[in-house]
Symmetry: C2
Subunit: 226 residues, 2 copies
């Protein structure tokens, strides 16, 4: 039975999400200083990192909290607006890992490609559009729309929607648990892209790649192993 | 007693807010078609206009409603994401009326200039920053922060904060009631910029201008009349 479908994660698989987030936070800090804040950017950045650790990743309130911790009362909105604007401008100019577009186009010649992603549907679509990849995929499966978090069940639902057998599918992603382990559990073959926050954490993937452009050969290899 | 302070409205006074909003809506419609919607842009635009009239100006939900009215069920998030992204991209690339930056800089040589604006503080600051004007103003008074809508009282509070007499101030804006009438009621001189939605509605302004660059002469004229 040959591979027919390849499923892709988005964040840290198609583009360097974690890098962009760090860069966006640094630009937000610079923008606050540009608006008149007399503090060192290193101090502000480490304060911000602490707030993010405490509060999770909903950034709009982070800058509000940062201003409060700094005791800013007058024109707090000015600093918040400048920070959020710089943050958005950076996060909005995302681009894919350089070999992603051509590799996906080449894979499309022999396989059906789909997105299998965790998260908010509009936000994940927004990323695909900004990356210039939104029209590449046959189906875009997002956990919010399937009403289930990434889990073995999430992949079972996708298999049913594709009318495919697990052995006909490969999942490509960066996260050892949600992209690799859960897909593997339902019998889908897995390829791990070594990038992002989980880079140094071992996974049970069938194959591990350092570069996206190695994917067509990796798929061929898995295909011949079936 | 000479003029010392000039207060400025933001929307449709410093930049063509209404024009940008229309352009943004048109680009949002185009983006939905680009993502695969087979409908004429004219039809979609008039549907959207109707929704905006019914629901007010909170655009994010407008596109959701538009999709519902079109009976889109599959991949609704795709169309909403594309529309909101195109809308934001247009609204985010705002620029001032062309003579605004140099006119403000020239007024700053003889007067203190301030913002006196209705709205959400972070949103109004966001506009000033995007327009490249945020560092031009001595004070930025926004109704949300003063905890009062534009009204005679709004202007009284500003006079108190500036420690200024009404005769020392001019308000510059486009709206016959909130920018002109209310400022006039507390004795502030008023200059009307003829732009935006209220362009053809008569006002009681001391002076009416068609172009922002006429402002320095208009201020001189009002100054000599006191």
């Amino acid at each position: 039975m040959a591979i027919k479908h390849i499923l892709f994660d988005i964040d840290d698989t198609l583009f360097p999400t974690s890098e962009f987030a760090e860069y966006a936070r640094k630009n937000a800090i610079k923008a606050m200083i540009m608006m008149g804040l007399d503090e060192s950017s290193n101090k502000l950045y480490s304060m911000l990192e602490k707030i993010i650790k405490e509060k999770g990743s909903n950034y709009e309130n982070h800058f509000d909290i940062l201003c409060n911790k700094l005791g800013i009362k007058e024109n707090k909105s000015k600093y918040v607006a400048a920070a959020v604007l710089a943050y958005h401008n950076t996060k909005h100019s995302i681009s894919p890992f350089p070999s992603v577009p051509r590799t996906l186009l080449s894979l499309k010649e022999n396989y059906k490609i789909h997105i299998a992603s965790e998260g908010n549907a509009v936000k994940q679509w927004d990323k695909l559009i900004r990356l210039g990849l939104s029209l590449f995929f046959e189906n875009v499966f997002i956990s919010e729309e399937l009403k289930i978090k990434k889990s073995p069940k999430f992949f079972t639902i996708i298999l049913k929607k594709l009318k495919a057998k697990p052995q006909e599918c490969i999942m490509v992603g960066d996260k050892p648990d949600s992209d690799i382990l859960y897909a593997k559990k339902v019998g889908i073959k897995t390829i791990r892209i070594n990038s992002g926050r989980y880079k140094n954490i071992k996974s049970d993937a069938d194959l591990e790649l350092n570069h996206f452009f190695e994917l067509p050969n990796a798929v061929k290899k898995l295909n011949s192993m079936i």
